[in-house]
């Protein structure tokens, strides 16, 4: 445990200095989600609220419901993007030669993957706190209950993100074509996770893909929490969050071992 925490601490320090030391980056981290929020919100403007059909209509009944839907989707997107970004940054290490230096050490690969994700996530903790606070305030503060829903939601998101980040980090190490990997795990995953379109509206196959992504279940639980007041209402989402998270971490860990072995066999640890 101590070693694990040391690795997380080491990764956080490294990332903070290497990636985030520039104040302009922090400014961007504030501005960029606002822009995304605007994009998500105005995307629904061409349509008439209330004139909705199908299983997703609870989210588009009125302006308030839409705003909660958009805000939670934005939150989900931000967490998701952070993890894809963290994985993308990892590939820079291959270009810089530091990946070789890391592989040379005896550091636990699982600890390294989880540490990378968590460290990246923690860099934006202030942003997530602000977003959750806005959500809690907007949805109508009803005492501590709303705060508990917010905290529970944050917990679901963090769990989903770490597990997804572990998988992303390992997948990005596999391929040199990180541009495609980035695109593959950006918009399509956002689509299947129900960021902009409720997952319950998607065709069956798309829904099945969505449930394999930890964020989908976490997002659904957060949305249900803020719309209905009870994030634990549907046990199916809790189970799918836990199962998909465990699966993502396990698969990510095994892929890292395989990717490292393949890189050692092909001699591609330092190519880019």
């Amino acid at each position: 445990m101590t070693v694990f925490l040391r690795i997380i601490s080491a990764e956080m320090t490294k990332q903070q200095r290497q990636l985030f030391a520039d104040k302009r980056v922090f400014f961007s981290l504030l501005l960029w989600p606002l822009l995304l929020l605007m994009s998500s919100y105005y995307m629904f403007k061409p349509f008439s609220l209330g004139a909705t059909t199908g299983t997703g209509k609870v989210f588009f009944a009125d302006q308030h419901a839409l705003t909660v839907f958009v805000l939670t989707g934005q939150l989900g997107y931000t967490f998701m993007y952070a993890m894809t970004e963290s994985a993308w940054r990892l590939t820079w290490e291959r270009w810089m030669g530091t990946l070789e230096a890391i592989i040379l050490t005896p550091v636990s690969r699982l600890a390294f993957l989880v540490g990378e994700s968590l460290a990246f996530l923690l860099q934006g903790v202030w942003m997530y706190t602000v977003m959750f606070s806005v959500l809690v305030l907007f949805s109508g503060y009803q005492g501590l209950e709303t705060v508990y829903i917010g905290l529970a939601g944050l917990g679901f998101m963090v769990l989903a993100s770490i597990s997804w980040g572990t998988l992303m980090n390992s997948l990005f190490l596999l391929s040199r074509d990180v541009g495609l990997m980035f695109q593959l795990f950006q918009d399509p995953v956002n689509f299947f996770a129900g960021i902009q379109v409720p997952v319950t509206v998607l065709p069956l196959l798309a829904r099945a893909i969505g449930i394999a992504i930890p964020l989908t279940s976490a997002l659904q639980m957060v949305r249900l929490g803020f719309v209905t007041g009870n994030p634990f209402a549907a046990t199916t989402w809790i189970i799918s969050l836990l199962l998909s998270s465990v699966a993502a971490i396990t698969v990510g860990w095994r892929i890292m071992a395989w990717a490292e072995d393949r890189a050692r066999t092909d001699g591609t640890l330092s190519f880019y």
């Binding site: 101590t2 290497q18 990636l19 040379l104 005896p106 001699g267 330092s270």
Partner: protein, 325 residues
């Protein structure tokens, strides 16, 4: 001890034809290399560019898997259990990679120390000590992107020592460095082997450096070890000759010629100037020098100056590689 047996490493490379198919070709970078490194000794791996030196070092340092062959390190099978070997080794490569440019020198070392399992305080202590050892104490809090090439290389050496490795692989450690800094690094390498009992494998293009530091040399050519031994042994094996340069007085030039030819020397050149006679010739490494003194005594001459020029390691390597080619 590190013992590598019949190491082979093959690569598949793709050669493109314009708009047409890509052809795959298998190249053998390392072809049956056997070598060993004891603790406390400095072993050099020499060879021309593309001989397989870096590939060999990467296999030994677990970054590359051999196609076949074994590597044993103090009882550990490095090929099948690289994770057990990693705490015991480290590698320093020439160039500017393997460092985080936006971190300071100290932050780089602390980060890697933590990856090796050192706690926060201990990691910081080690970083400070190593920065002092490589002469970077004053630049400890400067971002690496502001370091000169020599400073980055010294930081690389510090990073290579962060885990106090038993075995250290140095791939061109003084490449492109100024003479004083290169000398400092050589002194450090010598100290690590002699005083701290580290086993060191060194590759370098600077023959003088190899000659100065190494206890044994492996000469690699096209992926194979073509010669090995101590530097003086390689000289003998190369067949390169020693150059002799004598300045004599009170000697008859006509007698000189016959006298030295009888000794079996080659390329005899005799010139006379201002009352002295200069004699130049080449002779094998094992040529007994007392023959020269006997010959001079027999001529009733005086030796004004006596110089020898041993074949350089560069001459030796070129001769040995040339023979093999």
């Amino acid at each position: 001890m590190i013992e590598a047996t019949q190491l082979v490493r093959r690569f598949v490379v793709k050669k493109s034809r314009q708009f047409r198919s890509v052809v795959q070709e298998e190249i053998t970078a390392v072809d049956g290399v056997n070598l060993n490194i004891e603790r406390g000794e400095i072993v050099a791996l020499l060879g021309m560019n593309g001989a397989g030196k870096t590939t060999t070092i990467k296999m030994l340092s677990t970054l590359l898997k051999p196609t076949s062959g074994t590597i044993a390190m103090d009882g550990i099978d490095v090929v099948s259990q690289p994770s057990l070997a990693r705490p015991l080794i480290n590698m320093v490569a020439g160039g500017e990679k393997m460092l985080y440019w936006r971190l300071t020198g100290k932050e780089n070392l602390v980060y890697f120390a933590r990856l090796y399992g050192y706690g926060g305080h201990e990691a910081a202590q080690r970083a400070i000590k190593l920065l002092g050892m490589v002469g970077l104490s004053e630049a400890a809090d400067l971002a690496v992107e502001r370091y000169s090439k020599g400073m980055k290389q010294r930081l690389q050496v510090a990073r290579g020592l962060i885990n106090d490795p038993r075995y250290l692989f140095l791939d061109e450690p003084t490449l492109g460095l100024d003479a004083p800094i290169a000398r400092e690094i050589r002194n450090l390498v010598r100290e690590l082997a002699r005083e701290h009992n580290r086993g060191i494998l060194l590759t370098s293009h600077y023959m003088a450096e190899v000659e100065e530091l190494s206890d044994r040399i492996y000469l690699l050519h096209r992926g194979r070890i073509i010669q090995q031994g101590k530097p003086e042994q390689l000289r003998v094996l190369s067949g390169e000759q020693v150059k002799y340069n004598l300045t004599l007085s009170g000697v008859n030039a006509a007698n000189l010629d016959n006298c030295f030819r009888d000794l079996g020397v080659n390329g005899l050149k005799v010139t006379q100037a201002e009352g002295t006679t200069h004699v130049e010739f080449n002779a094998p490494q094992e040529f007994p020098q007392e023959h020269i003194f006997r010959a001079v005594t027999a001529l009733d001459a005086d030796i004004v100056d006596f110089r020898t020029l041993e074949p350089s390691l560069e001459d030796v390597v070129v001769a040995l590689v040339g023979e093999t080619a």
